[in-house]
Amino acid sequence: MSADLMIEVANLTKRYAGRTAVSDVSFTVGRGEIVGLLGPNGAGKSTTMRILSCYLAATSGTVRIAGLDVFRQSDEVRRRIGYMPENNPLHLEMRVREYLKFRARLKGLSRKRSRERVDVVTEQCGLTDVSRRIIGQLSKGYRQRVALVHEPELIILDEPTIGLDPNQIRSVRQLIKGLGKSHTVLISTHILPEAEVTCNRVVIMYDGKILAADTPENLQRLMSSNSQVIAEIAAPQAELRECWIQMPEVEQFDVSASEGDYFRCALTPRVGLDLRPRIFDMVRERGWPMRELTRSRHSLEDIYVRVTRPDEEDEG
């Protein structure tokens, strides 16, 4: 197997009694990548992560982490990963430093090495001030950081930013990006901007299957072939309509009143065309004031909705 693959998942299936949580999933993650597992709740993200982190065994299929089988070489794999389950469970009665030491010792670090690592990590994560505090008394943002420590090759984070305030989310994302420089990171989330901001690659899961796997940019390009253009122009409504009807590149349009004298026009071009220069020329010719001209970029959100709910997309 290739040496620069961190995670290799092949035909992974996990069945619970009477329910298939993950069915025939295959994907790979290279070393140093930050990959986001994206999907609605119950899509099988957590189950996949639990199997990757050796907590559960797969019903069928193979999973290799750094070339090691998660079932047969489970101990070796567990030494190489750091896993944070959903909601970040911690022993609330312990002190921060105590807990970090405990984890480091469990991960097989020597007494001396674990002391060093705990020092480095408290420094890195800004935990120095609270290292003597009891975990139960820390705010959620700190707790999250407590869980993000030690030096594994692969870091698996299940919903790392859930329940945090925007500032904390930003700092956790920073931390993940920082970790991504020297580690491989797999995060799961159902919050789309998160995957868009932090991940190099996104794997979209739905109902136990992988629907799409690509970079956020590629997924966007896939979608943007017929993206809408929004223009706000101050002109008589009837004339505007006339213009759009006569413009051959416009396939569909919608004109609605906006603030002041302006009208908001949502224009759908024929496939593959960029309408913006055409609209600009037209407005300049006629001397109409224009205050906005944008092409709506398909966010990951649209892609997500489109791939996870194909039926509704057909209607639209």
């Binding site: 619970y16 009694a17 639990r50 982190s53 050796c54 907590y55 559960l56 065994a57 101990d75 070796e76 567990r78 030494r79 990963i81 896993y83 944070m84 389950p85 959903e86 909601n87 469970p89 911690l90 022993h91 609330l92 009665e93 312990m94 105590e98 405990f102 984890r103 010792r105 469990l106 991960k107 097989g108 869980a147």
Partner: protein, 250 residues
């Protein structure tokens, strides 16, 4: 081995950093103290040749303490971790299921032993005030503690198993209490029956924990109860291990 020790220390911290640990100890000490009050009143009325430990055993507080405290000690072991989710982070570190089970069992046993230690000062007090050096005999005290630990190890391994089965501490406590009381009942039934003739009778008779514990508190160490309680403990620890492993083959 190192992981086992790290885990045991963490479990002990769990007992001694939480209020519940001290409440359990306080309750046990209260019952112990009360039983000694009863015992001293009895001794005042009529002197007895029995060792103090035997008199203490005869107050029946002994069984109450053992049967009520062990479920309290064991209920949190697995259930709490499963409930809070720390079990997942624990099982994704390179520790084996066996290490986890043994560490939890060891910590519970250590806690159980600590809980019983106040019995020693109680014995000293009796010795001091009766001015009778024979009231406290190290040999008898040792055999009493051996009996207490063996009986405790059985109930604690049982409690571990119950705790591993569920995410709810209350359910874990109820299961182990029910089984603990069941064993007590079995012992009681075996005690009431006439001398056994059939093989079933012999099997049942081997569960007469009352007689066996009675031997221990008198300073008699019989190998049969040692083997019985020891092997039952191993059996329940084995069951616990299988329950913990079961998440991987479910």
């Amino acid at each position: 081995m190192r992981a086992w020790w790290t885990l045991t220390r963490r479990e002990l911290a769990g007992f001694f950093l939480s209020l519940s640990g001290y409440i359990i100890i306080a309750a046990a000490v209260f019952m112990m103290g009360y039983s000694f009050v009863v015992l001293l009143v009895k001794l005042q009325q009529e002197p007895t040749p029995m060792p103090v430990t035997e008199v203490f055993y005869n107050t029946q507080f002994f069984w109450l303490i053992v049967i009520l405290t062990t479920p309290m000690i064991t209920m949190r072991l697995f259930a709490l971790e499963k409930f809070s989710g720390t079990f997942e982070t624990l099982m994704t570190t390179p520790v084996s299921d066996l290490q986890v089970v043994l560490a939890k069992f060891t910590a519970a046993m250590v806690f159980y032993t600590v809980m019983w230690l106040p019995l020693l000062p109680c014995l000293f007090v009796v010795q001091h005030y009766t001015h009778d050096p024979a009231a406290f005999d190290p040999g008898t005290a040792a055999s009493t503690f051996l009996g207490i630990l063996l009986l405790g190890s059985l109930l604690i391994s049982l409690g571990c198993c119950a705790s591993a089965l569920t995410r709810s501490q209350v359910i874990a406590a109820m299961i182990s209490l029910a089984f603990g009381a069941g064993i007590f009942m079995l012992a009681w039934i075996a005690d009431q029956l006439p001398a056994p003739v059939t093989w079933q009778g012999h099997v049942l008779a081997s569960f007469t924990l009352f007689d066996q514990m009675h031997d221990f508190v008198r300073g008699v160490v019989d190998t049969r109860p040692v083997v019985l309680l020891g092997s039952l403990t191993l059996f329940f620890l084995f069951l616990t291990l299988r329950v913990v492993e079961s998440r991987r083959w479910k």
